[in-house]
């Protein structure tokens, strides 16, 4: 059946090749549709209360896609016309960026920044800086107004006046095209303002994620380095140009098909999946190597290229199809995971491998029979013993001589080292921590964090029992108490903000700025009336980031100068009982924010909630980055090879020693080639400078080494000790199937 099929392919090779090329061109044209988009939520444990609270806060109050632009004066403070004009131009520029939430843009020059001031007769609410002040008197007036509104200190102007910020928030709806366009537009605005008088810094989650996208896009370059490494390994493997070329063609076409399909389905590529083409390439090349090696063996006997193609493929085809299907099915099963990243990874890898299998069964045999047959010395050289043979021989000798202590001791030591290593790697999970210390993300973060309240967020969501609950004086007083507690107890908390700050300020203004009246109103009616009063002077959106529309929920924003999860866990642990005592019954307080989400991730990891894999997406994060993306991938890559080892083994019934030597010399060698291709191909990621990719590269490389050792040392050793019936018995299914597939070992 298969033989007839391969014969057919070889006969119509031109048509088959043209069709494959046409399909590749088609998919290639769809790659243009691919987008690199990162959504931090894809990797967060969505069920965790911190994450739920953060999502709710961001939905109601905004703050999901924050950009912080820091403008630091190099001489004196920012209160000089030249610097203030820059702040105004940047603010105006940011307001014009498509997708910006205009009512959430805040800076000295923003309309939202209001000066609430008491007069003898009443209250005045005015924009802090409608036009840039020019005279010393005007500047002094502005400065006085800014410092009279404590809510702005350390949020839009630093306490010492040296730095000011422009903070913007962006919509993430259906028109969202990723973070890089936002960063590019911000860069265009601020680059025009750069000169000796100021230093400028960019921060905020949107900027960090834009960098993440940029790092992910760099993957295209790394892909080609990876390709070069694989080509090098292939050349070492076959020592021929053709031997290098054919697997590479399979690999590249598989990647094109996979990427094209992703583009067609409009699935965005995220940070994790930016590395997936490298995996597909390595796997496809690995499959191709298997078949090619077999072809060379057959050609050595038959001396006819087409006949060798038909013979090799019809013998090894079933194993390749089986292994390929297992891999495709396994990767597709990942679509059951609740985390988007993993689903995309599953679909992407499955399509890539499926493409590789299809190509191996169509284009490659056609192409192989089309190009000139290998020269005689190529087939001869393939048989020459090299350093790899010495390695496999060495392992074989260890097993044959039953030196179990050495073998298992070495393996146990390796596993211990790896476990230790993984333990160290898991600890860090902040987004910023993924960037190296000399990256712009980190170097810009340092002055922003030091100058302002802090660049790490912690939110408290207060949900009252009914509409207007936030107007309850007890609730506002509790909010004030929580803010005071945070700021007085923790030096690392640089700033807190809530509606309570505004209510105090309005109360003071309505009492002619009497300092004694810098306090919260005593009745619900007065709170309500102040809010109505404010609406007569301010803008409708002024309080949108502090209280929801029907005054049922409010938020306290806290800014921290540290992103240490240990510190945040300590603060949260202390805050919980404190908060519980402050609010009247019926109020629900939840904790969220970037810091809390980091803590959530940590909590899930540290407490070993891995048991609940299906439920806790954070564990999927670990599994994805540590296990699935590496070990499982490694395992799947090596399945066909392990099968081959197993099949070779069973050939010589009972003759363990001989079977072992042969199995390792043939299939075992292929295992090493593939493991080297995938492992070294991935290891290039270690040099990206982005933590997540560095870890991934390292892990895949290690996983390939472990899988490879398992396949060529552990598996044969265990087989020799246990001597299971399926491998050694006569009617063993695997042996029979392997023999049917023509996988019997050759001397």
């Amino acid at each position: 059946m298969l033989r007839r099929y391969v014969t057919f392919i070889v006969r119509y090779r031109i048509v088959v090749m043209l069709a494959a090329v046409a399909i590749s061109v088609f998919f290639g044209s769809k790659i243009g549709n691919l987008r690199v988009v990162v959504d931090p939520n894809d990797n967060l444990p969505q069920e965790h209360p911190y994450v739920i609270a953060s999502n709710e806060i961001e939905r109601v109050f905004g703050g999901r896609n924050i950009v912080v632009i820091g403008v630091e004066s190099t001489s004196g403070d920012v209160f000089q016309p030249k610097v203030l004009e820059k702040i105004q131009r940047i603010t105006d520029g940011v307001l014009d960026i498509p997708g910006v939430i205009r009512s959430n843009v805040i800076s000295l020059a923003a309309r939202k920044a209001k000066d609430i001031v008491g007069t003898e007769e009443g209250m005045q609410v005015r924009q802090l800086m409608e036009t840039v002040p020019q005279t010393p008197a005007e500047i002094a007036k502005l400065k006085k107004a800014v410092y009279a509104n404590p809510i702005y200190i350390n949020s839009i102007v630093s306490r010492d006046g040296k730095m000011a910020t422009i903070i913007a928030d962006f919509k993430s709806g259906k028109d969202f095209r990723g973070y890089t366009p936002i960063k590019n537009q911000i860069d265009a605005i601020i680059n025009k303002e750069r000169d000796d008088s100021v230093k400028m810094y960019l921060g905020g989650i949107s900027i960090n994620l834009a960098w993440l996208e940029i790092y992910s896009q760099r993957m295209a370059f790394l892909f080609f380095i990876s390709l070069a490494i694989i080509m090098g390994i292939l050349y070492l493997s076959f020592r021929s140009f053709q031997g290098m070329l054919i697997p590479v063609i399979t690999a590249l076409m598989s990647v094109i098909w996979g990427l094209g399909l992703m583009g067609m389905l409009n699935v965005p590529i995220d940070t994790f999946n930016a590395t997936t083409p490298i995996l597909i390439m390595a796997v496809a090349a690995g499959h191709s190597v298997q078949i090619l090696k077999r072809y060379y063996e057959e050609y050595g006997k038959l001396h006819d290229s087409s006949a060798a193609v038909i013979d090799s493929l019809s013998k090894i085809g079933p194993v390749m199809l089986t292994a390929g299907s297992i891999a495709v099915a396994s990767f597709l099963s990942l679509t059951a995971f609740p985390t988007l990243t993993i689903r995309v990874f599953g679909i992407f890898t499955a399509t890539g491998i499926l493409s590789a299998v299809i190509l191996e069964m169509t284009f490659i045999p056609a192409f192989r029979s089309f190009i000139p047959a290998p020269k005689r010395y190529e087939t001869e050289r393939e048989k020459i013993k090299d350093w790899l043979d010495r390695v496999t021989n060495g392992i074989a000798e260890v097993i044959v001589n039953k030196r179990w202590g050495l073998l298992f001791g070495t393996l146990a030591l390796l596993i211990a080292v790896l476990l230790g290593g993984i333990h160290i790697l898991v600890v860090d999970n902040s987004l910023k921590g993924n960037f190296s210390e000399d990256s712009i993300v980190r170097t810009d973060d340092v002055p922003l964090n030091a100058g302002m309240g802090g660049t790490n967020t912690l939110y408290l969501l207060i949900e009252g029992p009914e509409a207007d609950s936030i107007k309850n004086p007890a609730a506002l007083r509790a909010m004030e108490a929580v803010q005071n507690h945070l700021q007085e107890k923790y030096q690392l908390v640089g700033k807190t903000q809530s509606l309570a700050d505004f209510m105090k300020k309005i109360n003071k203004a309505m009492h002619a700025d009497d300092p004694k009246e810098d306090r919260l109103p005593d009745t619900r009616e007065l709170n309500a009336q102040y809010l109505l009063l404010y609406s007569m002077s301010g803008d409708p959106g002024d309080f949108d980031t502090y209280v929801d529309y029907d005054y049922k929920s409010a938020v306290i924003w806290a800014y921290l100068k540290t992103d240490s999860t240990a510190v945040i866990e300590e603060i949260i642990a202390d805050l919980r009982p404190f908060v519980a005592k402050q609010f009247p019954p019926g109020y629900k307080i939840s904790i969220g924010g970037g810091m809390a989400q980091g803590a959530a991730l940590n909590e899930v990891m540290v407490q070993g909630k891995l048991l609940n894999i299906g439920m806790i997406a954070a564990s999927i994060y670990i599994i994805s980055s540590l296990v699935l993306r590496s070990s499982l991938a490694g395992l799947l890559v090596l399945i066909p090879l392990s099968l081959a080892v197993l099949a070779n083994f069973g050939q010589k019934h009972g003759a363990c020693d001989e079977a072992l030597r042969v199995a390792l010399a043939t299939a075992g060698k292929a295992v090493i080639y593939v493991a080297l291709a995938v492992g070294l191909g991935y290891s290039i990621l270690m040099f990206t400078g982005f933590g997540m990719h560095t870890r991934l590269g390292f892990l895949v490389a290690v996983a390939m080494a472990v899988s490879c050792l398992s396949a060529i040392a552990l598996l044969p050793a265990v087989l020799c000790i246990v001597r299971p019936r399926f491998a050694f018995g006569n009617g063993a299914a695997v042996t029979a199937q392997a023999r049917g597939a023509g996988l019997e070992a050759r001397g």
């Binding site: 109601v60 014009d96 205009r102 009512s103 007069t119 007769e121 009443g122 209250m123 005045q124 609410v125 005015r126 924009q127 207007d468 107007k471 309505m510 109103p521 009745t523 619900r524 009616e525 007065l526 709170n527 309500a528 009336q529 102040y530 109505l532 009063l533 609406s535 007569m536 002077s537 301010g538 803008d539 409708p540 959106g541 929801d548 529309y549 029907d550």
Partner: protein, 270 residues
């Protein structure tokens, strides 16, 4: 054109012109005339009314405010005095707001908060600022005098079965543009009574800002041709926020004295 004694020719020319450029026919008022009439058509001598303002944000959450107000037109025929008493929601009941308009200067505003038992003066706002959190600005409440904007007739068209002039108004100066916050207004003015039917507002950068529709109007004084909008809906296209303003119990007969418009009256809480 040289004087001619060929009336038929003239008639043909006139008909032709009427067909080609209907709005430009001899009887057609100028854009300025139309806006001027529109400006004065709501200048009612005095009026009492109840109103319900429903504010809806982009997430569909609502705030409903019921008020009772008293209006008195000043002798200059332009400025008004307005006293607004809040009836609902309960926690702002009795809150009073008094505004004395000055078209050529800053308005005087006072507020009385019953929970504070004090009248406080509000320092004048920008014309573009929102009125009590609605999508209507102070500049929309007291419409600017005609020549604040330059007006042109774009075309005539029927809107929901009513014949309207479509008039574009652009600020006469950069300062006006900045003060009111509009780069352009496009108004559909009813030909039958000069009341606006719809107004599109562009922001200072030329982006669509908001649209006001005035679906229901009533003639409150047939003798002087004064009209009032019973319903105004304003939708802000940039924030997704909208305002629905409904007037009821209009009374233009009951005399309104100056005593309504004092801070002392504000303190009466009713």
């Amino acid at each position: 054109m040289r004087s001619t004694s060929k009336p038929i020719f003239v008639a043909i020319m006139l008909i032709g012109a009427a067909i080609m450029v209907a709005p430009a026919s001899a009887d057609e008022p100028s854009a300025r005339d139309i806006i001027e009439k529109n400006f004065y058509v709501t200048k009612i001598k005095h009026m009492l009314n109840d109103s319900t303002m429903t504010l809806t944000n982009d997430k569909g959450q609502q705030r409903v405010r019921k008020t009772r107000s008293v209006n008195l037109l000043q002798p200059n025929g332009i400025d008004g005095k307005i006293m607004i008493r809040f009836l609902q929601p309960g926690d702002v009941e009795g809150t009073g707001y008094l505004q004395v308009q000055h078209y050529d200067g800053e308005d005087d505003m006072w507020i009385y908060l019953p929970a504070l038992k004090k009248v406080r003066r509000l320092v004048a706002n920008n014309k573009r600022d929102s009125f009590v959190g609605s999508d209507i600005s102070y500049g929309d409440i007291l419409q600017p005098v005609v020549d604040t904007y330059k007006h042109t007739i774009v075309k005539s068209e029927a809107l929901d079965g009513e014949d309207c002039w479509v008039i574009e108004s652009v600020p006469a100066s950069e300062q006006i543009k900045k003060d009111y916050g509009y780069g352009k207004k496009t108004a559909w003015i009813r030909k039958s009574n000069f009341m606006e039917k719809k107004v599109d507002y562009m922001d200072t950068a030329g982006r669509p800002l908001k649209t006001m529709v005035v679906p229901e109007i009533v003639e409150v004084d047939a003798a002087t041709h004064k009209w009032w909008a019973l319903k105004r809906e304003v939708k802000n296209h940039q924030t997704g926020h909208s305002t629905l303003l409904i007037f009821e119990n209009l009374d233009t007969k009951k005399p309104v004295g100056e005593d309504f418009f004092s801070t002392r009256y504000l303190e009466r809480e009713k």
